[in-house]
């Protein structure tokens, strides 16, 4: 745009900037003069102007196809930006501390459990969940940023890409997502608190036994719905009715396989 040699022919870039009204007054005058002198420049300008399409109109129409409900729901799950950065950091640190301490405790427990009995992973999870009461989860802060950080830890260990929006369930509060481990195999435990039935968890571990449709079982007076896809085995465990659990499992499976 800073061309200080008057006799030069304007480039396509300058002509386009002229069309786009992005030149200052002096540059405009210079191009006007060049067009007056050289009729081929006027033709060139007309050719370039053929590319002036109703861009805004076209993309406004496309924008109307945006999945606004899903996007808005996603946005609603994110933490408020109004929260001061300091308290946010504090929350994250506190939540991370909670996870670390509970993971240590969980590993100890599971190690002990494994030595007591030889059982499959659902049995281990059920043993563990049987110790949960509503008060186990009540005090946990509902901090979305912290939960996101927790989900990223799970993603890294289990090869998943989990988002809070995928995991949201009506009437249940997502409380915590953490990695447990037994015998070197990671198990992710995503805990919810149901106001009526108490703690519920979605758990997942790696599995290559092939995809499997929903199945049900009962352990420690808790209901379990479990299923598998090509890379992971999943289970939903809680004191909710089997029908409710399976409905939720269907919702989750649909979102998680998308």
């Amino acid at each position: 745009m800073n061309d200080h040699s008057p006799p030069t022919i304007p480039s396509d870039e300058q002509l386009v900037a002229y069309l786009d009204d992005q030149l200052d007054a002096e540059q405009r005058i210079r191009i006007d003069a060049a067009i007056d002198e050289d009729p081929t420049l006027s033709l060139r300008l007309q050719w370039l102007a053929r590319s002036s399409l109703p861009f805004q109109h076209a993309y406004d129409e496309l924008g109307q196809q945006a999945p606004m409900e899903r996007l808005q729901a996603m946005l609603d799950t994110l933490p408020s930006p109004a929260r001061p950065a300091l308290s946010r950091r504090w929350f994250l640190a506190a939540a991370a501390g909670l996870v670390v301490s509970s993971v240590v405790a969980d590993r100890l427990f599971l190690g002990w459990q494994l030595s007591q009995q030889k059982s499959n992973w659902r049995g281990l999870v059920a043993d563990y969940m049987s110790l949960y009461v509503p008060q186990t989860l009540e005090h946990l802060p509902n901090d979305e940023a912290a939960q996101r950080a927790q989900l990223r830890t799970i993603d890294a260990r289990l090869g998943l890409t989990l988002a809070p929006a995928q995991l949201a369930l009506p009437n249940l509060a997502l409380k915590r997502a953490q990695i447990l481990e037994y015998d070197g195999k990671p198990i992710a435990q995503i805990t919810y608190l149901d106001p009526v039935h108490g703690p519920m968890a979605l758990c997942v571990t790696r599995s290559n036994n092939g995809s499997r449709h929903f199945a049900q079982e009962r352990r420690h007076e808790m209901n379990i719905v479990y299923w598998a896809d090509l890379e992971h085995a999943w289970m939903l465990i809680g004191r909710n009715s089997m029908t409710d659990l399976e409905d939720m499992a269907k919702v989750l499976r649909g979102r998680l396989s998308a």
Partner: protein
């Protein structure tokens, strides 16, 4: 931020040419914006700021990862913007415009989009894309030369005459 969701989504779709990627890009952009809300300068345009975040996530994270995984990028032919069920929802003229823009290489596509759809000045486009203003100008000139080669837009799907403007 809610008022900008549709605009972020269509920008994500323009870049990725895939609806599900566009949605993920919007989400990642919102998360990043909230994490960095302290960096937003009050009094400046939030839409510009969000567009630049989305662009940077696409370029440095999503796009880079897809290329590294050998998945390649989606060609304009495979673009979902006007396939199947969505084609009927888009007006014939609008679909032609979008198809022509989609056929441009990515750098020209995003420059055209920011300048002519979002109405950003050259300087603003340069800031969002983190390139010199001269690069913006040459991309627009190259893109316009390609777009100029198409026949005029047809308001009916099957052109019968090659009428000139």
């Amino acid at each position: 931020m809610g008022q900008h969701l549709a605009r972020l989504w269509r920008y994500g779709l323009l870049l990725s040419r895939q609806r599900h990627v566009a949605e993920d890009l919007v989400q990642a952009t919102c998360v990043r914006a909230l994490e960095r809300s302290g960096q937003f300068v009050p009094g400046t345009r939030m839409d510009r700021w969000l567009l630049s975040i989305l662009h940077s996530i696409w370029l440095n994270e999503v796009r880079a990862r897809r290329v590294r995984l050998g998945q390649g990028l989606v060609n304009a032919d495979e673009a979902l913007s006007f396939d199947g069920e969505h084609a009927a929802q888009t007006h014939v003229l609008a679909a032609q415009v979008i198809r022509r823009v989609d056929a441009l290489p990515e750098t020209q596509r995003e420059t055209v989009y920011l300048a002519y759809v979002e109405g950003l000045s050259y300087r603003e486009v340069a800031e969002v894309l983190q390139v010199p203003i001269g690069t913006v100008m040459s991309r627009l000139a190259t893109a316009r030369l390609k777009l100029a080669e198409y026949p005029p837009l047809q308001s009916v799907p099957n052109p019968t005459t090659g009428e000139r403007r």
